[in-house]
């Protein structure tokens, strides 16, 4: 039933993208996956940039290696072990950041190193795992499965509900945590919830663009939106637009014969090109 539903929805993709390259089913699924990833990446990216958490998302992305390794050790599917480990790592970083005197960079740096080293250690001892590592290193949206699409859809709903209630408060917290706390905003609740959701978003985005580029898909559309936006509302919509254009445009470009590049690289290159144009435009026409 899930398969039929996704098939039906992915058929609709051809209505919006009536292109030859969209005829193969795997392309329509990939586009569907990216259309779910785009808002997740855009909105979490806005808060990652506002709260200066790009290193955090980088660490979560790199936990993919350890997630694969954990799946092999405990004989559980990597589709489950990766998000589970990412969630644990994300909450652990937030706990240490809030509860210790260590700087955020130091906390993340230590955990980042530990998860990468653990992943590499286990992967190097297991041939099966080392074959799968490339997929997470560079991403492979073209092989996205029904379960992953369903998981993205559920996460998107949860994330949008969170944004509905937390967008304003997260903005307030990003300006000054202390003032927000004094003014009766439950800072720790919002931060833990965001860390949990961000961890899941990052690890699912790894599927699309790979560990190396996952931070880019989050922060570049948000940074581009900053160059144009004058207020919080514009920031929200501009980041969505730039994220959608980058994800959909990147996939379409990667499908062209003349391009011959992986989807992940095309998406991030397009996003960075849009940033470069926005940066130049902002310099010419100050906000």
């Amino acid at each position: 039933m899930l398969n039929e539903l996704i098939l039906h929805i992915s058929d609709l993709i051809t209505v919006f993208f009536p292109l030859d390259c969209m005829e193969p089913e795997f392309m329509r699924r990939a586009m569907l996956g990216l259309l779910l990833i785009a808002p997740l990446a855009a909105l979490s990216g806005v808060q990652v940039v506002n709260s200066r958490m790009s290193f955090f998302s980088d660490a979560i992305g790199h936990s993919a290696f350890a997630g694969v390794a954990a799946g092999l050790i405990f004989s559980i599917p990597v589709e489950f072990s990766m998000p589970a480990l990412a969630l644990v790592i994300g909450l652990l970083i937030m706990y240490l950041r809030r509860g210790s005197h260590l700087s955020t960079d130091t906390v993340i740096g230590i955990i980042f190193s530990a998860v990468v080293a653990l992943g590499l250690a286990i992967v190097s001892r297991n041939r099966e795992a080392s074959r799968g590592v490339n997929m997470f290193l560079y991403g492979d949206i073209l092989t996205i499965g029904d379960d992953e699409i369903a998981l993205l859809a559920v996460l998107l709903v949860a994330f949008l509900v969170f944004q509905f209630f937390a967008w304003n408060r997260m903005l307030h917290i990003s300006v000054n945590e202390q003032i927000a706390g004094v003014h009766r905003i439950k800072v720790s609740v919002y931060q833990y919830l965001f860390a949990a959701l961000l961890s899941l978003v990052v690890i699912l985005c790894v599927r699309a663009v790979g560990v190396l580029l996952v931070t880019a898909i989050l922060i570049v559309p948000a940074a581009t939106a900053r160059n144009f936006a004058r207020n919080s509302r514009q920031l929200f919509f501009f980041s969505l637009i730039f994220s959608y254009v980058s994800c959909a445009g990147g996939l379409l470009i990667s499908a062209q014969r003349w391009a011959g590049v992986p989807a992940g690289a095309a998406i991030v290159l397009l996003a960075c090109s849009l940033f470069a144009v926005s940066f130049a435009a902002a310099r010419i026409r100050p906000k």
């Binding site: 209630f165 903005l171 990003s174 000054n176 003014h183 009766r184 920031l235 919509f237 906000k287």
Partner: protein, 301 residues
């Protein structure tokens, strides 16, 4: 000292409050009180524990002893706080107007869906109280230090606080001077009826505007009405080497306290309103302190 003697007239009471960080004793057996609905200034040198004391009031740091909120503790409630920090360090590139920032603290509906008219009107009302309505649609990150302090004051007032805490709001910012800041706060306080606690280094401003002063240097060396409490002995004990201050006891609290023989007494009464608005550095011609008082501290209230 009068600590612990007041009851319902107090908004806050410190009972043997102590705090040790590492090997440093930051607060040592602090006993003092903060009168309800009044302006209490906490004065002391750098490192005296003033900011730590405010953090203790706000419940953001663990301490020994008790900090009581008479009237609220009995009802099992905690006070509503408004807080203005000394300096706001934030990402000035966040695309956000002043209105966005102020709404983000009170509006439930996410800002990407628009502004609630009711909340926007409330924000404008508070911006008007701090004389900043013109800044509503300005980028928050583009404001000057003084403008940010005013917006933060509006933000704190929006909480409709029982207790407003300000951590040296006039230090290093263009806030049209400490006198104007205090005058603005007095007007709002009289209208809203909150208790104001302000950390300050500026003894002249404290003397002229505060109703109550707590002299802190790890311990409380004195408290009470400024003109009474700020004796040379208390100042020497609090600040260590006391380099000499203007004769604080001679500062008139109000123009009506002008000596009968002051030749410009009637003119003062006329000019004093302008002093309130524009401040001495903005061209006030009042010669108040050169006639009859002869003090060097500038305007008193």
């Amino acid at each position: 000292m009068t600590s612990g003697t007041e009851t319902s007239a107090d908004a806050v009471r410190f009972e043997h409050v102590g705090l040790v960080l590492g090997e440093n004793r930051i607060l040592d057996d602090v006993c003092a009180h903060v009168p309800r609905g009044k302006f209490t200034a906490v004065v002391g040198p750098n490192g005296a524990g003033k900011t730590t004391l405010t953090l203790a009031i706000l419940g953001q740091i663990r301490h020994t002893g008790k900090i009581l909120f008479p009237g609220l503790d009995e009802a099992g409630q905690s006070p509503r706080f408004g807080f203005v920090p000394q300096r706001l360090v934030f990402d000035r590139d966040i695309p956000m107007t002043v209105m966005d920032y102020l709404l983000s603290g009170i509006q439930r509906m996410p800002l990407f869906l628009g502004r609630s008219r009711r909340h926007a009107e409330r924000v404008m009302q508070y911006l008007d109280e701090v004389e900043c309505t013109r800044l509503a649609d300005h980028a928050f990150g583009a404001l000057s230090g003084g403008e940010i302090q005013r917006v933060l004051l509006a933000q704190a007032l929006l909480q409709e606080p029982d207790i407003l805490i300000l951590d040296e709001p006039t230090s290093g910012v263009d806030f049209k001077g400490g006198q104007i800041c205090c005058e603005l706060l007095r007007r709002v306080r009289e209208k809203r009826g909150f208790t104001q606690i302000m950390i300050s280094h500026d003894l002249a401003t404290v003397t002229a505007h505060a109703d109550h002063v707590i002299c802190l240097n790890r311990k409380v060396f004195g408290e009470g009405e400024p003109r009474v409490a700020l004796t040379h002995q208390v100042l020497s004990e609090t600040f260590g080497l006391h380099l000499g201050l203007p004769d604080l006891h001679g500062i008139p609290r109000d123009v009506r306290e002008c000596p009968e023989d002051c030749p410009l007494r009637h003119e003062h009464e006329h000019l004093h309103d302008h002093c309130h608005v524009d401040g001495p550095e903005h061209g006030c011609a009042c010669g108040h302190h050169d006639h009859g008082h002869g003090k060097e501290t500038g305007h008193a209230e």
